[in-house]
């Protein structure tokens, strides 16, 4: 017995102590009504505290799964919203595309750059998931970029934070539209150019996608005007505070125009004809 390591001896003592005390408490509870009531009350309290903790821990570990479900739910809601928008935009049309013109697919960013002039990101969906080049990438807070190259399981996205990327955007109040471009300095700001002087823009007005391209659907909010600057007496240059925080971006939606092929073919035919 004396040869046993101290830790083993301590462990044995603790186990024996707990076992004997529990045995005593059981005997006390069985032999006295008052003690039984109090002891069982304390045990139940400890049990419920333990269950509470356990459920908190298990819910923490199921967060990833919950998150995936929420993302899927977001995609479905986006699809529905898109459909209702299409319906309300064309109230007199006899036929409305059942799921809207655009479809959405959730994706996670695997890699991204933010500190360069030409930023990009990699997302975890590729041709196997139905992704193709030229599709848009958005979130509820604005546009993220455009898919430039696709492999089986991944896609390379040219980020909106790229000085060579521009997007058609409009003022939601007046419907005037122009080109939105990142200036390559501040990731929270962009510039909307080619806006006519009489557009009535004011600081705080919202800017959204115009829908004048087959990449992004209309009315995705992008940001608000923070500064107005006239350029050469004809146009305005508007500084926009972006809603999208690219530093905390993890989940995105790939947006696909269902009629894009048709639009592209038509554009190609028209281009060749001229």
């Amino acid at each position: 017995m004396t040869g046993r390591p101290a830790l083993v001896r301590i462990a044995i003592n603790i186990v024996v102590f707990i076992a004997l005390e529990v045995l005593c408490l059981v005997m006390i509870a069985n032999n006295s009504v008052v003690q039984r009531y109090k002891i069982l009350g304390a045990i139940r309290e400890a049990q419920s505290a333990l269950w509470h903790r356990t459920s908190e821990i298990s819910s923490y570990f199921s967060l990833k799964k919950d998150n995936r479900l929420l993302v899927q739910e977001n995609v479905d809601l986006q699809r529905q919203l898109n459909m209702y928008k299409a319906m309300s935009a064309k109230p007199d049309t006899a036929f409305v595309h059942p799921a809207g013109l655009y479809s959405y697919m959730a994706a996670d960013i695997v890699k991204s750059t933010r500190g360069k002039q030409h930023n990009y990101m990699l997302i975890d969906k590729g041709t196997r998931a139905g992704v193709s080049e030229g599709m848009g990438v958005v979130t509820a807070n604005g546009i993220v970029g455009i898919i430039d190259a696709v492999s089986d399981n991944y896609s390379y996205v040219i980020s909106f934070l790229n000085t060579e990327q521009s997007v058609s955007a409009r003022l939601t109040k007046s419907d005037h539209f122009g080109l939105l471009r990142w200036e390559g300095v501040n990731p929270h700001k962009a510039t909307l150019t080619e806006i006519s002087l009489n557009c009535g823009a004011a600081v705080g007005d919202t800017v959204a996608t115009s829908g004048h391209s087959s990449i992004f659907p209309a009315d995705i909010p992008i940001g608000v005007i923070s500064k107005i600057k006239p350029v050469s007496g004809l146009y305005l240059s508007l500084e926009i505070d972006l809603f999208q925080d690219f530093n905390s971006l993890r989940h995105v939606y790939i947006v696909a125009n269902k009629d894009r092929k048709e639009i592209d073919e038509l554009e190609l035919e028209e281009g060749e004809g001229r």
Binding site: M1, N13, L20, L23, C24, M27, I28, N30, Q35
Partner: protein, 170 residues
């Protein structure tokens, strides 16, 4: 062999005194006279703690059953005291005391230290005993009064037993 027999007789005597005290010495609701802690305190110090706890549990259970009390009450308090007995002894006495004192009597350890050691031991015993006995039914003042009076009365009892039994043996 002879030493073991003498020790057994000593503990058996203490157990009988305890049973007699529990059955016949009714000194009011605030004082619980009890020499069971003495049995635990006087277990040889070379004894392994888990073995001391098992012996304390057996003695406590015997007192509970034979004295028609709530079964498990004295056993729980005795086991708690047996568990802290060695660290408590080490806190009050030197390593030399620990090595020499096979049974920590007043003669082995010195008067004042021994009284302090016994008082703290009794305090631990009665904290467990009174807490389990009253389980929130009594007010804090009543519980504290029971604790202080029981500790004081039992300190006198333990010292008396300690003095007479070991002095006479010397």
């Amino acid at each position: 062999m002879k030493d073991n027999w003498g020790r057994f007789m000593f503990f058996a005597t203490l157990l009988i005194i305890q049973i007699v005290l529990s059955k016949y010495a009714n000194v009011g609701p605030y004082i619980y006279l009890c020499c069971l802690p003495l049995i635990v305190i006087y277990l040889p110090l070379y004894q392994e703690t888990f073995l001391s706890m098992l012996i304390a549990f057996g003695c406590g259970l015997a007192v509970d059953v034979l004295c028609d009390g709530i079964v498990g009450l004295n056993a729980a308090a005795s086991v708690a005291l047996a568990a802290v007995r060695k660290p408590l002894f080490a806190a009050f006495f030197t390593r030399d005391n620990l090595e020499r004192a096979v049974i920590p009597t007043i003669h082995e350890t010195g008067v004042m230290r021994h009284i302090n050691y016994i008082f703290i031991s009794l305090l631990i015993y009665f904290i467990v005993y009174i807490c389990l006995d009253s389980v929130g039914m009594e007010s804090l003042q009543t519980t504290l009064l029971r604790l202080v009076l029981s500790c004081a009365a039992n300190l006198v009892l333990v010292l008396a037993i300690d003095y007479f039994m070991f002095n006479s043996r010397r």
